[in-house]
């Protein structure tokens, strides 16, 4: 007799995890998708747009969310982490921990709680550059479409304003952490990446007001981001007209990340083109070691090169100093002319690299903490948890992982 096929567990609800989930479910198998933060979409949903098409990721994610909504084979749990995995292929036992978000699933997203909430919190969707109330909708396309309460900032019962305002009895400020145990056939690890901590690169002066990272820049340039439809620099909310991009900020660096993060070159080209669309007269300099723009994205590189206001300088920025008016002096050697340059920019963007987010269960990693292919059978690492890659490659890999997962009975 055939034993009952257990579902596939997918850890991580970013672009890759969501893809693996829908691809498996559309074959006809059951999946359980878990995400440790309150909403799906991972890093990608914070991106302004993709290279080279310059289209918004939320377009594809909307379709994927729709695929999740209409497919009963997918169960998803947000604010949930794996705390234990045991057993073997075909028969894993996993323990999940769900952190309370204090707003129940019957929330209608009417927004009343946020209206009355008296406390503010840094908006992590915008990397803390803006604020939301402690009761908040993470962003306009948040899936699941509901509000959350930030435990750290909420004053709970001593305030209770949201509880009183909610017409749907959806708020439970005394909610407790929950532990769930499941049996699954295989585990796809789609824990993804975070960007390298730029403050560790002391010579690039991330502490300066107008030095931000590339992922932060996504929220600065996004029309639903920090400055609305304008690009405003942090120090004085003015529109910078000279912007510099510092490639390999931490990547290809033995003192930081010894590997190449594979996406930052094309991402910075994208940022440069985004700025040009908004401010055609803005002056942009991209300092690089090698322009690593693979495949047909070469066209995208040529598009940037054809723009006379985008200049590519071969030479890594070795030093950034802040001037009195919060401008930045970037120093590099222009290797091809053999001259040191000091470029004064109004804003500098550090192209920081990809660091695997990791997982609190024991898996084989390489020296840089990426999961290797040598895992217990039935445990399948995918996309940026394995190596740095761009969105499209991640989705490819996530689709491949879907097949690997359904091969396990």
């Amino acid at each position: 007799m055939d034993k009952i096929q257990k579902p596939v567990l997918i850890i991580g609800g970013g672009m890759s995890g969501v893809t693996t989930a829908v691809e498996i479910a559309e074959v006809g198998k059951e999946v359980i998708l878990i995400e440790k933060i309150p909403y799906l979409g991972g890093n990608v949903i914070k991106f302004n747009n993709y290279f080279p098409k310059l289209c918004p990721p939320t377009c594809g994610l909307e379709i994927n969310f729709k695929r999740i909504k209409q497919n009963s084979r997918i169960k998803y749990y947000t604010s949930t982490e794996v705390i234990e995995v045991s057993g073997e292929k075909g028969d894993f036992k996993v323990k999940l921990k769900t952190t309370p978000q204090f707003i129940k699933n019957n929330c209608t997203a009417c927004g009343k709680c946020a209206e009355v909430c008296p406390v503010e919190r840094p908006n992590d969707f915008n990397y803390g550059f803006t604020k939301t109330k402690a009761a908040y909708l993470p962003h306009e396309m948040a899936f699941p479409y509901k509000f959350f309460i930030d435990d750290e900032f909420c004053k709970k019962e001593s305030c209770n304003k949201c509880v009183e305002a909610c017409e749907y009895n959806a708020i439970d400020l005394s909610a407790k952490e929950e532990i769930t145990e499941l049996e699954v056939s295989s585990v796809v690890v789609a824990t993804g990446w975070k960007n390298y901590d730029a403050s560790k690169i002391d010579n690039l002066n991330y502490a300066a007001n107008n030095v931000i990272t590339n992922v932060e820049f996504e929220r600065y340039i996004a029309s639903n981001g920090v400055g609305g439809d304008k690009l405003l620099r942090p120090s004085d909310n003015t529109e910078p007209k000279k912007i510099a991009f510092v490639q390999c900020a931490g990547s290809r660096d033995e003192n930081h990340l010894p590997y190449c993060s594979a996406v930052c070159c094309t991402a910075s080209l994208k940022h440069a083109i985004n700025i040009q669309e908004l401010y055609p007269k803005a002056e942009i300099k991209i300092f690089y070691i090698d322009m690593r723009v693979a495949g047909r994205n070469e066209d995208f590189l040529n598009k940037a090169k054809a723009n006379k206001n985008i200049e590519l300088v071969k030479g890594k920025v070795g030093k950034i100093t802040e001037t009195e008016n919060n401008n930045l002096i970037l120093e590099a050697e222009d290797i091809l002319s053999g001259k040191k340059i000091k470029y004064e920019a109004e804003m500098a963007v550090l192209a920081t690299g990809i660091v695997p987010s990791g997982l609190n269960i024991n898996l084989n990693t390489d020296k840089d903490h990426f999961f290797t292919d040598l895992q217990p059978e039935g445990i399948i690492p995918v996309a940026c948890s394995r190596k740095p890659m761009d969105v499209s490659t991640s989705v490819k890999d996530a689709t491949a992982a879907a097949l690997k997962a359904i091969q396990i009975n």
Binding site: C55, A109, N224, A294, E298, K367, V395
Partner: protein
């Protein structure tokens, strides 16, 4: 079946405060087939849901209107059995949250939307899936290189029978010609032997893999689940498969086009030639000084404008084994950029450690030859000046040219192969959906899809096989695959009215329709992706879906009450793409952005599915203007159905003729393209158009 409609109006989330629910009840009650109409302060609560569910049982309802929040919200609650037709009237995001509360115009909008929903339910049916008989679960893999082999193994591991065909006598493709392979896992330090023997052994272990070498394809007929493949191997043999992975790979760029890099001179080889040379002569002495020229013909607008992605790694590999085989040799590598992306950087560093491998960025200015000695002049180097190098051999790192997919010999109206993107790669155009294919059930994998190395090809092969399996399983359920995954509707044709105009067969982006000699469409529902572009293309109302038809949408249009007096109340009909524009309008409401309440929105599967009839119906009905809001067309198109948006532009002329015959101004139709994130632009798009229409004046058909 009798139509019994239950209408449930929610008053929660400001809807009750913005609208007179009692009046809405009155409007609803007079509509056709409405059996029951109830209100609730929160339909999405357990009580609200139970209220509906109990009514379904008690009153035998088969159609439900939920007038509450957007159909994008609360889907997990409003989840009814498949035999119940559900229509969500968006009174929250697209009425209460974006129009003035308690205003006459707001109320009118809500009333119209309820009428439209009820009318829709009166004019559609629950789709019954098209499930073909004798669906094959076998899969065809075309091309026996590493991609095809991997694909076959992975498919077999999942329990499917895979036929792998290769036109050469032997499987293995380029891997048969490799001396060594680049390491593709940590620590990326040592070259590995060609893995082809191991892969072939692995392949042979699977009984469910059928190997067909020296085989080509004469013809492929049919559709997913029922592809009939005519193989040629001396004799013709027919096999039936459910889906196809094509991985016919690549060929090196023709170095004869590169005389400026010395090709044609003695001792100037391509990377592929060099690899074969060493493979076949492992004991032969290698020369003392060898120069590698990277991007030989690649990243070059006169040759291959793209980067082939594998050549940097390959030259590093070749340099490494040269040094192993011939410790006296010096290797020089002249590059534009060293592109060892990601963890391959570790391999680059490893190769750099060798004392006799010399790297510089540079441009080749001249290659000359004298007494068997080659001299290269390199400019723009890192050494601060132009350099000249005397070498004994030059290896040109040439790129890859995709082989194309014509060999599939698809017996399709739209051609023998898969449609190609720029530079002839049979790739998807979508970042989020790299396996999107325009020939449903046929997936490209490996370097015919995009330039890639062995490791990437193997990953790609696995992903493509998953999609091939998925198509078979979806076909068995009678469901569409991405992007309308799970959709059970399919186009039904009333061919009696067909005039053989061939528009549907030409415009279908997925090649669903073949044609007989007369030009009559022969539908293949399993190839269909349910975009409805054929619905939009047909001048004779021949094509419809059970839940999306010319008649149903026409009826919806006609259900809108058009006020007589234009001055105060013009009416604009907006057809909006349900994938991007509709969510954007939702978000405008969510953000509390206000816009004109004179607009009535009808979501469409794609703006390419808008039929001219709907437009003339709307104008005859008295709508003053028509907006079509879709996804961006052009080179970087965002339309999920490839050219749906583009078609509205080409069909535009046709529609202008309709306007002319109706003696109407051309401005009465406008097409706008938005991205899903453009919610902030929605009010302006709508308001500007309303203003413009107000200037033009009322539609003269209003009173007729």
């Amino acid at each position: 079946m009798n139509k019994k409609i239950g209408v449930y109006i929610c008053s929660g989330c400001e809807i009750g405060k913005a609208l007179d629910i009692e009046k809405l009840n009155n409007v609803v009650s007079s509509e056709q087939n409405v059996t029951i109409c109830k209100n609730h302060s929160s339909l999405c609560s357990v009580e609200g849901f139970n209220l509906i569910n109990d009514d379904i049982a008690k009153e035998n309802l088969d159609r439900i209107v939920i007038a509450a929040c957007s159909p994008r919200a609360k889907t997990e609650v409003f989840d009814f059995p498949e035999n119940i037709l559900l229509e969500r009237t968006n009174l929250r995001e697209q009425v209460a949250w974006c129009f003035e509360p308690n205003d006459e115009n707001t109320q009118m909008a809500a009333e119209d939307y309820l009428r439209m929903s009820i009318t829709k339910l009166n004019n559609i049916e629950v789709p019954q899936p098209f499930i073909a008989e004798n669906i094959s679960s076998d899969i065809l893999v075309v091309g026996g290189g590493i991609t095809g082999i991997t694909s076959a193994i992975e498919g077999a591991k999942a329990g499917y029978t895979v036929h792998i065909i290769e036109k050469e006598e032997k499987l293995g493709g380029w891997l048969n010609k490799l001396h060594k392979q680049i390491p593709y896992s940590a620590p990326y330090s040592k070259l590995i032997d060609s893995e082809i023997e191991d892969r072939l052994k692995e392949l042979e272990q699977f009984e469910n893999i059928k190997i067909h070498t020296s085989t080509t394809i004469n013809k492929i007929d049919g559709q997913p689940g029922q592809f009939e493949v005519y193989l040629q191997n001396g004799t013709e043999e027919k096999i039936t498969v459910g889906s196809i992975v094509t991985s016919t790979g690549w060929n090196p760029y023709d170095a004869n086009n590169l005389p400026h890099l010395g090709y044609g001179k003695p001792n100037v080889l391509t990377n592929v030639e060099f690899e074969e040379f060493v493979k076949n002569n492992p004991d032969k002495d290698l020369p003392k000084n060898i120069l590698f020229i990277q991007c030989a013909g690649s990243r070059d607008k006169d040759h291959l404008p793209y980067c082939s992605g594998f050549c940097c790694g390959t030259s590093l590999k070749q340099a490494t084994y040269i040094r192993e085989l011939s410790p006296k040799s010096n290797v020089f590598i002249v590059y534009k950029d060293i592109r060892t992306l990601g963890l391959y950087e570790e391999f680059y560093k490893e190769v750099q450690k060798d004392d006799q491998i010399f790297f510089t960025k540079g441009e080749i200015e001249e290659i000359s030859e004298e007494n068997n000695n080659l001299k290269a002049i390199v400019k723009d180097t890192l050494l601060g000046e132009k350099i000249s190098l005397s070498v004994d051999m030059i290896v040109l790192a040439t790129g890859m040219v995709p082989n194309g997919t014509e060999d599939l010999n698809l017996n399709y109206r739209l051609g023998k192969g898969l449609p190609e993107l720029k530079y002839n790669f049979s790739d998807s155009h979508f970042i989020c959906f790299p396996y999107e294919t325009r020939r449903t059930g046929i997936y490209a994998a490996g370097s015919l899809r995009a330039p890639m190395d062995i490791a990437a090809s193997k990953e790609d092969a696995t992903g493509a096989m998953l999609k091939a399996i998925q198509t078979i399983e979806a076909t068995k359920r009678g469901e569409a695959v991405h992007p309308r995954s799970g959709d059970k509707s399919y186009p039904e044709l009333y061919l009696d009215r067909c005039t053989d105009c061939k528009r549907c067969t030409e415009e279908c982006p997925f090649g669903s329709y073949d044609e007989n000699e007369k030009g009559t469409p022969l539908p293949n529902p399993n190839r269909c992706r349910r975009c409805g572009i054929c619905v939009g293309s047909c001048p004779e109302r021949v094509i419809s879906f059970a839940d999306y038809s010319i008649n149903s949408v026409s009826a919806i249009i006609k259900s809108v009450e058009i006020p007589d007096e234009f001055e105060e109340k013009p009416r604009i009909l907006a057809f909006v793409c349900e994938n991007d524009a509709y969510p954007a309008i939702d978000m405008a409401g969510q953000k509390g952005l206000k816009y004109s309440p004179y607009v009535r929105i009808i979501p469409v599967r794609c703006i390419g599915s808008i039929n001219k009839v709907w437009i003339s119906d709307a104008l005859s009905q008295g709508f003053d203007g028509i907006l079509q809001i879709g996804c961006k067309p052009g080179d970087d198109y965002q339309c999920h159905f490839i050219h749906g948006s583009e078609l509205t532009e080409t069909r535009g002329e046709n529609i202008q003729e309709t306007l002319e015959t109706m003696m109407l101004e051309p401005e009465r139709i406008r097409t706008e393209f938005v991205e899903i994130t453009d919610y902030d632009k929605i009010p302006q798009i709508i308001n500007d158009y309303v203003e413009e229409i107000e200037l033009i004046g009322p539609n003269p058909f209003k009173d007729m």
